[in-house]
């Protein structure tokens, strides 16, 4: 047996923006074994949610993850609304959809930037993040903050998008779409990027299902599965078709996200066009009843699962959050062994890990 290297990869590591550790066993440059260690981001939010009154939990849930924070807030509201059950007004559904897709747009731009940076392609990282700032600007304009938008309340949304804002948003989105398309074309056709991603970290169709993967990661293995197919909020009215890629490799994951980035912008434009007038929130009556509910919402990283149990008080009996990364981490055990040390960073990033989500 050739001599082996055993080394930590993380929790602090420049390619990992968040603390997670991989115990890597290497032979030359080849990874022969990997063991992920999590727990660096565990705060205990589920418990804290039981101690807070239910409207307050929105702010806590939004801080489960700072990248898809708006969707966490909305999903929390969605699951609490299901306890009554409480129907939200049509305009609120559209607004939630628009903000969710806006989050997806900025999140995918962020991921594409980080992924190419992990490949050592710094100039493209800069370009993706340059256009991401434009999306953040319209998020800030419509919601009031770049990162933690805090737009959802139980029963609907907190604020409306007026016509001027809408016009500006559409303008910016069209501009971003044009630039993103140009960048995507460069990215998926670049020789060096292809050489580094094609056939790396392969996860087959069956493996992806057996390991319970979700989101773009799953769809890159050819599984056509997207929570938006459920038609929650306004997705039922929009022309939505999940984007898949057959390869199951890192390149497919890049391609799927490139496609979803454009699709998200298209969905926003469509939603802006179809958005009805009306109220933006319904008023919940009393406390959540002693009931239980589970909901699944498609987050940029995949399927976000919330389970809530009420007990008739203003506190929830139990809130369970399963984030997409939680489902995708086990697939690293399959994808990493056999790859090269150089590919570890991009393969880990290819599941779009969100550790703070995972560990709550």
């Amino acid at each position: 047996m050739a001599p082996r290297t055993i080394t930590p990869f993380g929790p602090q590591h420049p390619v990992l923006p968040e603390p997670i550790q991989l115990k890597l066993t290497l032979e030359d440059e080849k990874v022969v074994d990997v063991l992920p260690a999590i727990g660096y981001g565990h705060r205990g939010i589920e418990k804290a949610c039981e101690l807070n009154e239910y409207p307050k939990n929105i702010y806590l849930c939004e801080r489960i993850c700072g990248i898809c924070s708006a969707i966490h807030g909305m999903t929390y509201c969605d699951v609490v609304e299901k306890l009554w059950p409480l129907e939200i007004p049509p305009r609120a559904k559209y607004l939630r959809t628009i903000w969710a897709e806006m989050s997806r747009t900025h999140s995918h731009l962020l991921w594409l930037g980080l992924a190419v940076d992990a490949l050592g392609f710094e100039s493209m990282f800069m370009q993706y993040w340059r256009i991401r700032e434009k999306v953040l600007d319209i998020l800030e304009m419509t919601a009031g903050h770049r990162v933690t938008q805090s737009v959802a309340v139980v029963g609907g949304v907190r604020r409306d998008i007026d016509d001027d804002q809408k016009k500006h948003c559409i303008e910016v989105l069209k501009d971003v779409r044009k630039e993103a398309e140009a960048l995507n074309n460069v990215l998926v056709n670049d020789y060096t990027v292809k050489a580094r991603t094609v056939g790396k970290g392969v996860l087959s169709y069956d493996q992806a299902i057996a390991l319970g993967c979700c989101g773009p990661h799953l769809r890159a293995s050819g599984v056509k599965e997207d929570c938006r197919q459920l038609g929650y909020w306004a997705y039922g009215d929009l022309s939505f078709e999940p984007i898949t890629a057959p390869g199951g490799d890192t390149y497919s994951r890049v391609a799927v996200r490139c496609g979803e980035l454009l699709q998200a912008i298209d969905l926003q434009l469509e939603a802006f066009a179809k958005m009805p007038e009306g109220d933006i929130a319904a008023k919940p009556k009393g406390s959540p009843p002693a009931n239980e509910a589970a909901t699944r919402i498609e987050q940029p990283r995949g399927e976000l699962f919330y389970y809530a149990k009420g007990n008739g008080t203003r506190n929830l009996e139990r809130l369970r959050v399963r984030t997409p990364t939680y489902a995708n981490i086990p697939s690293l055990l399959v994808m990493l062994p056999g790859c090269e040390m150089a590919d570890v960073a991009i393969i880990v990033l290819s599941i779009d890990p969100c550790i703070s989500c995972t560990e709550r």
Binding site: H42, E292, F305, N315
Partner: protein, 128 residues
């Protein structure tokens, strides 16, 4: 209400899970509730490809041992470890055992997700 929820006993668990595995269903996640002297465990599955979710639920006493499904679904290793260290669910034969320190550090509180006395009292009051 959880749709398509099937209540089983813990001894049936592996057989039921095997059925899901044979039909190529995807394991979604599990969750655990503290019912006072008992723990309620629910596992969710999804018939892939598609969005059809169903669930298995069993209730066990706090000291009882529960079989691990990691032999069938490796991906359940995270949730089973988590339930083990946060709720004290006694899962045996885990594929990868983090020994109670997956999420929690050495000096973290023990079994933090169990209901405190205050919580129990507050819930009782609200129930009435």
């Amino acid at each position: 209400m959880i749709d398509k929820l099937k209540e089983i006993s813990k001894d049936q668990l592996l057989a039921e899970v095997k059925k899901y595995a044979d039909s190529k269903a995807k394991f979604v996640t599990g969750s655990c509730n503290d019912l006072g002297d008992k723990l309620e465990v629910t596992y969710y599955f999804n018939a892939s490809p598609g969005m059809d979710m169903s669930a298995l639920r069993f209730v066990v006493g706090k000291g009882e041992e529960v079989p691990s499904m990691t032999g069938i679904y490796l991906t359940a290793v995270l949730i089973e470890n988590e339930m083990k260290e946060l709720f004290g669910l006694k899962v045996k034969d885990l594929a990868i055992d983090f020994g109670g320190h997956m999420m929690l550090a050495q000096d973290s509180p023990v079994l933090p997700m169990l209901k405190s006395e205050d919580q129990k009292a507050a819930a009782q009051k609200g129930g009435k």
